[in-house]
Symmetry: C2
Subunit: 142 residues, 2 copies
């Protein structure tokens, strides 16, 4: 079900030079299962149903994993960050300007567009990974 097995996740953490702790794995496993960008709030609430884990710990793990390149951090102008597993593929989503609806769209490549942008850029030479957020109004709000 999840994109990665527990062993794979452990190796990813080790490979990133981070310690393997229960809490860190909980966060990673959760994100490997949901496959969607989730808010820190959702993450904390859900993890707390089963395990005893502090908010600060979740935040710190999200930061360390993000810095290590294992997570992607997304912001949809909703006032709180979203995180998802860094898969190597770009992440593209439609975001509602009115409510908090987001929809992740798979199977779209904008590599050519990114190349064009880099060609025009003065401050950037390459991009690591990329994500694209397209804003509009969802069917309910339209």
């Amino acid at each position: 079900m999840a994109i990665y097995s527990k062993d794979e996740l452990i190796n990813m953490v080790k490979g990133a030079g981070l310690r393997v702790t229960d809490h860190r794995l909980l966060v990673l496993e959760y994100l490997a299962k949901v496959k969607q960008p989730v808010t820190v709030y959702e993450l904390v609430e859900d993890l707390r149903k089963k395990e005893n884990i502090d908010q600060a710990t979740v935040y710190r793990n999200l930061s360390s994993l993000h810095e290590a390149g294992l997570l992607r951090r997304l912001d949809f102008n909703h006032g709180h960050a979203h995180y998802e597993l860094e898969t190597g593929h770009a992440s593209h989503q439609l975001v509602c300007n009115n409510c908090e609806t987001i929809e992740k769209i798979e199977g779209i490549s904008i590599d050519d567009t990114v190349k064009k942008m880099l060609k025009k850029s003065k401050k950037f030479k390459h991009t690591t990974t990329h994500s694209m957020e397209i804003y509009g109004l969802c069917k309910t709000c339209a």
Copy 2:
């Protein structure tokens, strides 16, 4: 220099059903001049050099103008919002994952990509305007 004249801005405010106030125009004029996404902090600091305007007023005007569709609100994962004038054209920028560098890239169209995304979407039928943020590391941080 600015994209719109003062009169044009006034008409835009009226057309949006909002009252024309000095403070509201100050905010709009500022954004019409800079042509780049700016933080609320920069806006407040700069406006205060010449006029007496409260932070809360700036926030409230940014909100009302954004709701009216005259402004675009952008977030680059830096913990504070950026605003720019809504031009009708899409806004695309490269964003550094490490520092606060952003670079607006002009002359790129992703209309076809957006169409493709909408075709795959279940929750969205159309998008109003769109913006794209591509994350990477700027030359300095790379």
